[in-house]
Amino acid sequence: MKYKSQKVAYWFFALSMLLLVLQLVYGFVMGFARIGFDNLHEIIPFNTARAVHTNLLVVWLLSGFMGAAYYIIPEEAQRELVSVKLAYVQLISLAVVGVIAIVGYHFNYWEGRKFLEIPRPLDFLVVANVLLFLGLILVTLFKGKRKTTTALVLSMGLLFAALLYLPGMLPFDSQVLDSFFRWWVVHLWVEGVWELIMGGILSFLLIKLTGVDREVIEKWLYVIVGITFLSGVLGTGHHYYYIGVNKIWLIVGGIFSALEPLAFLAMALFAVNMYRKGEKKHPNKLALYWTLGAAIVSFVGAGLLGFAHTLPQTNIYTHGTLVTAMHGHLAFWGAYGMIVLAIISYALPNLTGRKLYQSTRGRAAYWLSNIGMIGMTVAFGVAGVAQVYLERKFGMDFMEVQNEISIHFVVLILCASMFTFGVVLYIIDFYKHGKPNDEALELAE
């Protein structure tokens, strides 16, 4: 690392890893409930497990993004963070709000709105926390010696992500409007501004790992995020087909969401091409694996599997079935999970001075988690397609269908075990790097 204040990133990454492990635990609770082992029902009923599982996902990714920003912004702006103390305050308050929310879900303290279950009073704390974070990042950037495109795109993504949280706080009496504006948050996050964050991190990593000229990489970054918004904003329409709003969304959502895979395709081609072009052979191969992996898996998970059920003619049958879970898992893993693990893999050796680049454990973590996740996606997919045919086409009863497809959840749990094993190996590697220290300053890349 080049600046002492970058060390704060380490603790955001550590929090991120802790929350990831907890997320997996609640995933298993749900998986077992689906095959009849709902023994924890009294303490953790399915709706609690589900809310915790998805919210932990959001928080570990956000913690990872924040860590990434605290690592990347000083290096791009060429100065220390404006206040390390406040960054730690922000870290602790993030963890505290997260813990209150998660504990609250076990005591019916929630809002019951998919992905945005955090109750209103806590929403305000989230807003305060994010404002503090943005303040630190933006002031550092504007006081910095240079304002690179990479830093601007990353900061813009974080700023818009904060702004877009607000429509989710509007109260509505109508379920339709509630749902409509909830997607302003959820869709415009994951298929919009989070892609800016992903693009910013990806661009930073490619500059560092491949040695390709910054100007070339950043030019293509603009093109990619341009395609993202061009398709993604109006692509929000694919959530509006069947929730009680006008048919105009069938046309608009259908056309623009069909274009959404292009942004991910561009991202994958961009990463692979820059890697081929690059003359620099950076020794941190693991970071390169995760970086290229994120670009490719996000194209498959978010792009292709999203496209598979995005057209209104298909979606009328798949809307509200396990097909969505299939797409959701590989998309989040590829686009956001892997990019967070990529920046951690890159930053850790620089923060701690321990260059564990060649570890077999690290490579095993990569392959086991990815193969496990692909297996999970296939299991969800088979279960989802079977559900569509039996329930939606042949009109069988919901629970009869669930019993028929429960075998796929046995497969899901086996693949999830493999995935978890990979993640645990990754975390062992994380731990083996030790804590960040100032001696690592001389070891800057």
Binding site: F46, G112, D173, Q175, K219, Y222, V225, V245
Partner: protein, 155 residues
């Protein structure tokens, strides 16, 4: 060849234009004759029902308007479906499930026992009735096999 400046203009311009169109379509689709969200039939009871729906995170297992967690049945048109299964007693069945003090376990999959009052259960029924009357661009026929059959018989 594309310059960085042009690339930036493409990004900023494209974003601005699509976002303005998005806002325009939102206003268009939610206003006047285009609105099909059944807004006019929301009663106080429906609003209370929605609040109960949220406070208990029903979406954490069920789906409604196709949104939720796929662990328990879709509840759009649930009254119609149960009416057919239980000789027109759909509303009563829903109320007894919601008021039960022991977990309802159809086919072994447990639902949390909410032990609601008669009034709360009635509010939920009103909420489901309101949901059932929304024009869902055809999705209602897919999730309600009864609606599908009825439609086929009419033709």
């Amino acid at each position: 060849m594309l310059s960085k400046k042009q690339a930036r203009a493409f990004f900023l311009g494209g974003t601005l234009v699509t976002f303005l169109i998005f806002i325009g379509l939102t206003v268009f689709s939610l206003s006047g004759p285009q609105d099909q969200s059944n807004e006019e039939n929301i009663t106080e009871s429906v609003v209370r029902g929605k609040l109960i729906w949220e406070e208990n995170n029903c979406m954490g297992c069920h789906t409604i308007l196709g949104e939720g967690a796929y662990y328990a049945p879709e509840l759009t048109k649930v009254i119609d479906r149960l009416n057919e299964k239980y000789d027109g007693q759909g509303e009563e069945v829903i109320k007894s499930i919601l008021m039960s003090e022991v977990p309802w376990q159809p086919n072994g999959r447990k639902m949390v026992a909410y032990g609601m009052t008669e009034q709360e259960a009635q509010d939920m029924v009103e909420f489901f009735k309101w949901i059932g009357e929304i024009d869902l661009n055809g999705f209602d026929r897919i999730v309600s096999p009864i609606a599908k059959r009825r439609l086929n018989n009419q033709n």
